[in-house]
Structure formats: structure tokens, C-alpha cells
């Protein structure tokens, strides 16, 4: 008897640390069940065998930093029914987007003895700057439970449940005492997209924004609080300028406090 069509999954990598695609292999309890339900048709980190053709679902990790990558992502779009970006590199350009505010030639000469060998774009950009994407999963790295939710949702043709509210809501849900109110610890929770489960405050640390901006954040109001807690402009600029530095609300706020 012919097997029913299993959806085909592909995992693509651009400029990144590999951590988000590793999240899939980190689903130790779910991995074999996932592999039963879908055909992992292209996943270079995990297998040398691959099936070419069309993919029902493409997960894209990493940002676009070379001319070749900019071409390759269009090809990924062409052969995929659904494209989901995973992680801060793919959704906001990642930490390597710090080059967008600097001279990439100077960067190359700092790191490499022969910068003339380097072929790279001046910017690191999100996948959605190049092609249409169906969904962007946040996080540096992504949360693996959210990954399972998003993959399941798209296979079931429903909307994934990934709230766009702030990390503050997650602290309340978790019952974590506010580190900013109780201890005066600077925290980006009020402007940061939920998804991590409010991890840092649970470890007595302020959120550092690795999931990027929430929907409609009020960053200037938070920055006032940060300066009242003793942070100077340079420090405030730095906290917005990390793994989601080129996500618009963070970029604007960073620039308001000097580069």
C-alpha cells in the first residue's frame, strides 16, 4: 500500500551560530515522533541524505550577509509552500547586524590579515527583507517548545499560539517578583517579546531582550526608568544593541541614546 503523503520539511542555514536548528535536535523527547509525522527531507546538520523537489515547510535560520545568500533565499522561497524563519538572525539580522551601523571594510581589516579576500555585504538583514515569509519565530535562541508548537500548527493548518505580549506578562504568570521594582535591576522585560518564559528574572537577572521587541513597545518610557536606575546613555544604547539590534523599535531607541 502506498504511504500517505507525509509533509516534507527542509531546514536552511544562513549566517548564524547553528543554535536554532540545533533546537530541533534538542527536542529529544519529540524528535522521533516528529520524524514519524513528517519527512525531514533536507537538514544538512543532521543528515547527508536529502530529497530534492518541493517542500511543504521550510525553516530558515540565519541572516543574509552575502550576495550568494541573497540569491539562495529566493530559491528557497520558490521551492517552499510555507517559509518560517527561526531566531533573531533570521527575523532581525542577529548580532552580526551590528555591522549595519559600522564600516564593514574596517571590520574585515580588524579580523583578517587579508581583508581583500573577504566577500560580504555591508549589511546583515532579516529574511523578510528579501522574501515573503509566513511566520517569524523569535528568540536568540528560539524556545524549542515554541518551535514544536509552530511546526505542529502549520502542519495542522492552524495559527500558532505564540503570544506577542511582553516578558513582564510571563513573569506575572510564573510568579516571579519584578527584579526592577524589587531590586532595582535594569530589565528589558517591559519592551521584549514573550516566548522564553521570563527566564532571566527567574535567575535574578534583568531581561536582555534576546527575543526582540514586543508588539508596540514603549521603549522611551523604559529608557527613562533605566536612566533613573543609574544607567548612562552609552549603557542604554548598548542594551538595545545586541541580538536584535536592527529590529526597528530597538534600533530607534539605541540611536536616541547615541550610537
Amino acid at each position: 500500500m502506498a504511504e500517505a503523503h507525509k509533509p516534507r520539511l527542509a531546514v536552511w542555514k544562513f549566517a548564524s551560530c547553528d543554535g536554532c536548528q540545533l533546537s530541533l535536535l534538542d527536542c529529544e523527547d519529540e524528535l522521533l515522533a516528529v520524524a514519524d509525522a513528517i519527512d525531514i527531507a533536507y537538514f544538512m546538520e543532521a543528515t547527508r541524505g536529502h530529497i530534492s523537489g518541493r517542500y511543504d515547510l521550510s525553516l530558515v535560520e540565519g541572516s543574509i550577509t552575502t550576495a550568494h545568500a541573497a540569491e539562495r533565499i529566493r530559491e528557497v522561497r520558490r521551492i517552499s509552500d510555507v517559509v518560517i524563519t527561526i531566531g533573531a538572525c533570521a527575523t532581525a539580522g542577529g548580532i552580526q547586524a551590528l555591522r549595519n551601523f559600522a564600516d564593514v571594510k574596517e571590520y574585515a581589516s580588524i579580523v583578517y590579515a587579508r581583508p581583500d579576500y573577504i566577500s560580504t555585504l555591508a549589511t546583515s538583514t532579516a529574511i523578510a527583507d528579501h522574501i515573503r515569509v509566513e511566520f517569524e519565530l523569535r528568540g536568540c535562541p528560539i524556545n524549542k517548545r515554541q518551535l514544536v508548537e509552530v511546526v505542529s500548527a502549520y502542519l495542522a493548518k492552524r495559527k500558532p499560539v505564540t503570544p506577542a505580549h511582553s516578558v513582564c506578562v510571563e513573569c506575572k504568570l510564573r510568579g516571579t517578583v519584578c527584579v526592577m521594582v524589587a531590586h532595582g535591576t535594569p530589565c528589558l522585560g517591559p519592551v521584549t517579546h514573550a516566548g522564553c518564559g521570563a527566564l532571566c528574572p527567574a535567575y535574578d537577572r534583568g531581561c536582555y531582550g534576546c527575543f526582540g521587541p514586543m508588539e508596540t513597545p514603549n521603549a522611551p518610557a523604559l529608557s527613562d526608568w533605566l536612566s533613573r536606575l543609574g544607567m548612562d546613555d552609552r549603557s542604554i544604547s548598548r542594551v538595545y544593541s545586541t541580538f536584535n539590534t536592527d529590529a526597528e523599535p530597538f534600533r530607534e531607541e539605541k540611536e536616541r541614546h547615541g550610537r
Binding site: 551560530c17 535536535l25 522521533l32 543528515t47 574585515a108 580588524i110 536568540c140 548598548r238 541580538f243
Partner: protein, 434 residues
């Protein structure tokens, strides 16, 4: 007479972390060249770290590699503490060993079961392998998870942990929090022992070379975060002298900055080197398992690195259990730090080998200069030499088998190409873009 040329080319190497390719050219039965090409795009970490605060280094450098973020965090915090004149000891030092044990277990198990074992058992990947060896893969996943459980608890999450800081941690676990971990690790230790036995039964190509082994060495322990840099050729230096004995060269033929030992050339870092130089500091259980697996105190066959990795998983389970049993929660989660100008050096043992960091700090604690030498850029010349030395003996294999054997030769190193600070693109060998 026209010579017969054979080119073995793999345009996108599977089951490694990151993007790489290789090309071996054989003419008249002689290997003419062997090149590992790495087309992972550069991300310029050492450049954009200039001007950042010293305290940001562990979070930022973690993002160099999603597979071994703890290694980057450990090398960066120790280098910063060296620059700032601070020593972290007691339970905080032990917790750092503990989180490193977690990363070794996770990363090594990923390689042993999901990336490397399929080569020996004849599968494209672990998921295919699971169709015939479900129980083996399931045990591998359980072992990997035990490593992740440690990183998760001590670090807050498996990938890019949030709890590591210069001076210690943000919050230390209580003894009670660590207790369930001990139960998991006892099972994991049994699984690790089974793993050593399993992989020892694989069929290994009979290939050896005289490698220059380089690793940390500490008088009282198998090395993670501390020690001198030693080699089997008599090198014995403080970490701060690394740059006097090693340098990175920019080779046009290849696509990467490669490291070489001055006056020596290529050298090997990673599990085999650690094992060869520190065998007597493995736990008795790990030593015994190694002996039973047929490993002597020195291993020079890179294909057997899968056994050495498994022995290190076993050691890491054992060591993690010892740390948990002895653990007393410290009064404070971190020692106090005051910024000052200075230079700091550190090398720690990433799963793939020595990871060297050097930072120069300004008076206000901002980073003036950063230098990072990942293990895979140190191993790259050695990988190419393996291909050059070994391929000649395999020319009777058919093309498919020969290509696979070459891939396996590269995968022996568990190369982590995403540790991309020093990899760049010179030439893309790519047939698909025709």
C-alpha cells in the same frame, strides 16, 4: 601518456555544524591536494566587540556557536577575570566545571549518535538509523538530554545560557535543586558506559599518524577551565604565552585562517589530544572503560575518536555526579568585580578542543581588543593532512564509497564551522550554482 586524475568533491558537507566543503585531487594514484573549504560567512565578532563592556562578553561570544556556547562563555569569563585580577574558586569554580560537563555530554553525544555513528552503521543520518536501531537512538537521545538538563538547570537554558557572568553566576542552584539531576546522571552514566561498549565494536579503518597533541593540563584534574597548555612534544606554557608559540595564518589556497604551532606546523586539539595528555586524570571508571574498549593510554587513529569522545562522556557524567555530591551553595553567586585596564588570557577545553580568548580592556572596562581562536581553525590543517595521508590507501574503493570515507575523515574532528570568527570565503566550490 596522459595521467589519470580523479577529483573527489563534496560541495556541502553534511552532519557538521556549519557550512563546509572539501576537494581532494588524485593524479595517477597520488593525492595531489586536499583542501577543506569553508564558506560560512564571516560575522566579525572580534570587530564588533570593540567598545562593548567586559560584562557583555559571555553573552555575546556565546552566539559564535550554538553547539558549544558554554565553551565561549567559559573562555570569555576566565579571560576577563584574568584581566580584572579576580579569581573564582570554591563552589563557583565547581559549578563552572559542572555546566561544562553538561556541554561535553550534550555536544559529544550529539556527535557520537547523530553525526558520527551513522557513518559506521551505514545510514544517512540518525533518523534513518532509528528505523533499524530505534533503541540505540533512543538511548543516545536520553544521554544527550541528561547533558542538556545540566546546562538547563545551571545555565537557565540549553543554548546560550543566561546565568553565566564574569565573576560567577547570577544565581546559584540550591542542593535540593541539584538532587534530581544526580538521579538523571546515574542513568546517564550507565548509558555512557553502554555507549563506550557500543562504539568500540564499530569497524575502524586502520589509519594512524604521529599527531602533535595539544591540550590544557592540570595537575589534579582532567582539564576544563584551567591549566597550562602542553603538548606531547614537550611544550609546557602558561596560557598567556599562547601567542608566542602559535599563530594564525591566512592561507590563500584555503578559505580560512588556520593556526600553526611555530616551528612545528599542524597540531591536533580535542578529545584525542586531551585523552593522550591526561589519561591518568580520568576517573577510574572512565580509565577502565577505555581499557576494556581496547584503547591504550594513547590513541593516534582519528577514526577511533568516537570511542575517546564516549569515554569523555562517561567521565563527564562521573565528574558531574562528584561535583553534585560535594556541592554546598555559596553565600554569594559571584565575586565582586571592579573595572580596570588590563589584558586577560584564557583557554578552556571546548568539546572540540582548546578555545583561546584574549582581551585588552580600557580603564572603564570596555573592550579595546578581542582575539578568539576556536578549536576547528586549529584543527583544519590537521584535517587536510589526514585527507592527504589517508586517501591514497582507499583508491580501490568506488567513487561513492571513497567520497563517503573522505567525509568520515572530516567528521572525525566533529568540526564546528559555525565557530566562524576566523573562517571566510575565498572560492566557492559549488556545482549547484552553474
Amino acid at each position: 601518456m596522459v595521467g589519470k586524475t580523479k577529483t573527489i568533491k563534496v560541495d556541502y558537507l553534511a552532519r557538521v555544524e556549519g557550512e563546509g566543503a572539501f576537494k581532494v585531487v588524485v593524479r595517477d594514484g597520488v593525492v595531489e591536494s586536499a583542501e577543506l573549504a569553508i564558506f560560512e560567512p564571516p560575522r566579525f565578532f572580534e570587530a564588533f566587540m570593540r567598545g562593548r563592556d567586559f560584562s557583555e562578553a559571555p553573552d555575546i561570544t556565546a552566539r559564535i556557536c550554538g553547539i558549544c556556547p558554554v565553551a565561549y562563555q567559559m573562555s570569555s569569563v576566565h579571560a576577563m577575570e584574568d584581566a580584572l585580577g579576580v579569581t573564582v574558586d570554591g563552589p563557583l569554580r565547581d559549578l563552572r566545571r559542572l555546566i561544562y560537563c553538561g556541554e561535553w555530554i550534550e555536544s559529544h553525544t550529539l556527535h557520537v549518535y547523530m553525526l558520527h555513528a551513522p557513518d559506521f552503521l551505514g545510514y544517512a543520518g540518525a533518523i534513518d538509523m532509528a528505523r533499524d536501531h530505534a533503541e540505540v537512538v533512543r538511548k543516545g537521545l536520553a544521554l544527550k538530554k541528561a547533558g542538556n538538563d545540566i546546562v538547563n538547570l545551571v545555565g537557565g537554558r540549553e543554548i546560550h545560557p543566561i546565568n553565566v557572568k564574569v565573576g560567577g553566576f547570577y544565581r546559584t542552584p540550591t542542593r535540593r535543586e541539584l538532587e534530581p539531576l544526580a538521579e538523571t546522571l546515574k542513568t546517564a552514566r550507565d548509558l555512557a558506559l553502554e555507549t563506550v561498549k557500543l562504539v568500540a565494536g564499530f569497524d575502524f579503518p586502520d589509519r594512524e599518524r604521529d599527531y602533535v597533541n595539544v591540550s590544557l593540563s592540570h595537575p589534579g584534574e582532567y582539564p576544563f577551565n584551567e591549566g597550562r597548555i602542553v603538548s606531547n612534544g614537550g611544550l609546557d606554557i602558561a596560557v598567556a604565552d599562547y601567542d608566542k608559540h602559535f599563530r594564525e595564518i591566512h592561507v590563500e589556497r584555503s578559505t580560512a585562517l588556520q593556526a600553526e604551532m611555530l616551528g612545528v606546523g599542524s597540531y591536533l586539539v580535542g578529545p584525542i589530544s586531551r585523552y593522550n595528555l591526561n589519561f591518568d586524570r580520568l576517573s577510574p571508571l572512565a580509565q577502565e572503560a577505555a581499557r576494556e574498549a581496547g584503547l591504550g593510554p594513547v590513541c593516534n587513529n582519528p577514526f577511533r575518536s568516537i570511542i575517546v569522545r564516549s569515554v569523555e562522556i562517561l567521565y563527564a557524567c562521573d565528574e558531574a555526579l562528584r561535583i553534585i555530591a560535594d556541592y554546598r551553595q555559596p553565600d554569594r553567586p559571584a565575586v565582586e568585580i571592579r573595572p580596570r585596564a588590563g589584558i586577560g588570557y584564557a583557554a578552556t577545553e571546548a568539546p572540540r578542543g582548546l578555545l583561546y580568548h584574549r582581551y585588552r580592556l580600557e580603564e572603564d572596562g570596555s573592550i579595546a581588543e578581542a582575539q578568539i581562536v576556536p578549536p576547528t581553525s586549529q584543527n583544519q590543517p590537521s584535517i587536510e593532512e589526514d585527507l592527504r595521508s589517508y586517501v591514497g590507501g582507499w583508491l580501490d574503493l568506488d567513487d561513492e564509497a571513497l567520497q563517503h570515507r573522505c567525509e568520515q575523515t572530516v567528521r572525525n574532528y566533529d568540526p564546528c564551522i559555525s565557530c566562524s570568527t576566523h573562517f571566510l570565503k575565498l572560492e566557492r566550490i559549488d556545482e549547484t550554482s552553474r
